[in-house]
Amino acid sequence: MDAAVRELTYAQAIQEAMAIAMDMDERVFLMGEDIGVYGGAFQVTGDLVERYGADRVIDTPISELGGAGVAVGAAVTGMRPIFEFQFSDFATLAMEQIVNQAAKMRFMLGGEVSVPVVMRFPAGSGTGAAAQHSQSLEAWLGHVPGLKVIQPATPHDAKGMLLAAVADPDPVMIFEHKLLYKMKGHVPEGHYTVPIGKAEIRREGCDLTIVATSIMVQKALDAAATLEGEGIDIEVVDLRTIRPIDRQTVIDSVKKTSRLLCVYEAVKTLGIGAEVSALVAESEAFDYLDAPIVRLGGAETPIPYNPDLEKATVPQVPDIIAAARDLVKGVR
């Protein structure tokens, strides 16, 4: 490995992005539960309170609704808050402020205000935290005009997309899969941004397009590596943003490969896979399809506690391999 390539974990990349944002702009500050001396439930804020002080790294009471509203109010009046939810599940407590206020305020007021708030949501299963601390609710927020919703899948993107989110004049919701926090990868030093609304082709291929989000991107890449040995050449599209969705990258990829598999952790029904499938079916890419579109999503159940049940709830690499192989070989 090139010694010059610096690696950070996904959590470190987010922390570095927040520090850079605070260095660059005195309006940027952090709010959330136990993000100060505790360092955040997942140690994402870490020691930032020591570097920036308790006035810029603000521990809130356990008040998700009120806290989200305070962040919205601060954003509307000139500040640039980054609000951390301890778990994405707790968005349910704050939906009023997110959906009725943050998303709609600019529109309702005829463009007289902007709401430059960033909200971070540690999401997903795999930690044994059971049904109320393991959900993937990004599609709920993806349904709301006025919000932008992103799911960085790598440490590089976690930093670059957070810095893009802080610079964005509109509310940006960041869903961070908790199992990614310890993932290591190349993260450039200093300030850079990764655009919101642009998907990324992580691997080029010609037999099948896998559109994946968040942690499923790496699983799709692992599956693709295995299937390469069988002569199956898979293209992996990392959607990165679910609102606004990058339709063109998906359409172009499907036109090239003629097959589409959507892989995401959230409950399968009425999820991002339905949206991606529909956008392809509605586009010129439909005529290029050689096989039915297939979705692999979460089971129609809350996330269970038992580790074997928990794993079985969401798509795993063998599931992706089997689905991809069947699609390419025409079994489906």
Binding site: P61, L65, G66, R106, E112, K148
Partner: protein
């Protein structure tokens, strides 16, 4: 003891707060604005009945002294968040009725370019961050605005108006707690008009006075007669001073009454005709203030007539402006969802 001469010079010394604090011209201006609020809402109601305005609206007729009293000590760049019953707050904070009518008519010249209507009326330039269709929705936002004021050291004070119904929402409690622990320059103003839609506060609220809730958040809780302008303004003045001094928030409960129903669908089945008529005949805030001004020699009948005529003209002109203004193009439907990048 003060000399007799001093007493003559300070002839207003025994009058209620506002008559000592503000000039006669300012006080006549308050009466003008109270009439402007009343006539604006009557005008809006009439336009609604005639089918010129669609949707619904929540009228604050009977609550004018509360809106004016709270806003009296505020500076132009102080900020407010308001409620679904927010027309009075908007006018009290300095909005023009012509652009408010235009908003109700759904026109591009309206404060929200026809996207918000009555329930989201706002005037950001004058510090009104917007009415809100969600009960208690604006309270945490006001606390956030106050946090901005503290962090940016702008000296701004923020007022959050809400109704009695909001005091049973979680957002109210979360917001008051945060404002108190961070000593933010915010004033919580509960306009208690006795009913959350049809449910009386006696049936919905465990405490007799909503101001008692303040004790749970270690802030002053003040009850005022919301129909007496001077009482409201005095409480607001003290709360603003406290907020500007960095001493933290205050909860003011302004007890008042809405003459009209909750919204346009209300059949008034939960209160008696006698109750409504009593408030209208004996406790109308404009009549009370007008009588005081006249009794204390700040205005005469001629002056009152002049105010009423000027307001009538403003309202008529405002409605004409709204009628003549252009409607939004359908092609602009998706504007303002996101910030446009030039």
């Amino acid at each position: 003891m003060a000399t007799a001469r001093k007493a003559v010079v300070d002839s207003r010394a025994n009058l209620p707060f506002v008559y000592r604090q503000y000039s006669p011209e300012q006080l006549r201006g308050v009466l003008h604005k109270m009439y402007l609020i009343r006539r604006f809402e009557e005008g809006a109601e009439e336009c609604y009945m005639r089918g010129l305005i669609h949707g619904t609206m929540h009228l604050s007729i009977g609550q004018e002294a509360s809106a004016m009293g709270i806003c009296m000590p505020l500076a132009e760049d102080d900020q407010i968040t308001s409620t679904h019953r927010g027309h009075g707050h908007c006018i009290a904070k300095g909005a023009e009725v012509s652009r408010m009518f235009a908003e109700f008519f759904g026109k591009t010249t309206g404060y929200c370019k026809g996207r918000g209507g009555s329930m989201h009326i706002a005037d950001v330039a004058k510090g009104n961050l917007g009415a809100n269709g969600i009960v208690a929705g604006g309270i945490p936002i006001a606390v956030g605005a106050a946090l901005s004021s503290k962090m940016m050291k702008t000296g701004k004070v923020v007022v959050s108006f809400f109704g009695d119904g909001a005091n049973n929402e979680g957002a109210f409690h979360e917001a008051l707690n945060m404002a108190a622990i961070w000593k933010l320059p915010v004033i919580f103003v509960c306009e208690n008009n006795g009913y959350g839609m049809s449910t009386s506060t006696a049936r919905s609220t465990a405490v007799k006075n909503i101001a008692e809730r303040a004790a749970a958040y270690s802030m002053p809780g003040v009850v005022v007669n919301g129909n007496i302008f001077s009482e409201v303004a005095e409480a607001s003045f003290k709360a603003v001073e406290r907020a500007r001094a960095g001493e933290g928030p205050t909860l003011i409960e302004s007890k008042t009454y809405r003459h009209r129903g909750h919204s346009k669908s209300d059949r008034n089945r939960y209160r008696t005709k006698e109750e409504i008529e009593d408030w209208m005949a004996n406790r109308d805030p404009i009549t009370l203030f007008e009588n005081e001004l006249r009794d204390f020699g700040f205005i005469d009948d001629h002056g009152i007539e002049a105010i009423r005529d000027a307001v009538a003209k403003e309202i008529a002109d405002g409605i004409e402006f709204a009628k003549a203004s252009p409607a939004p193009e359908i092609a602009t439907l998706e504007n303002y969802v996101y910030t446009e990048h030039a």
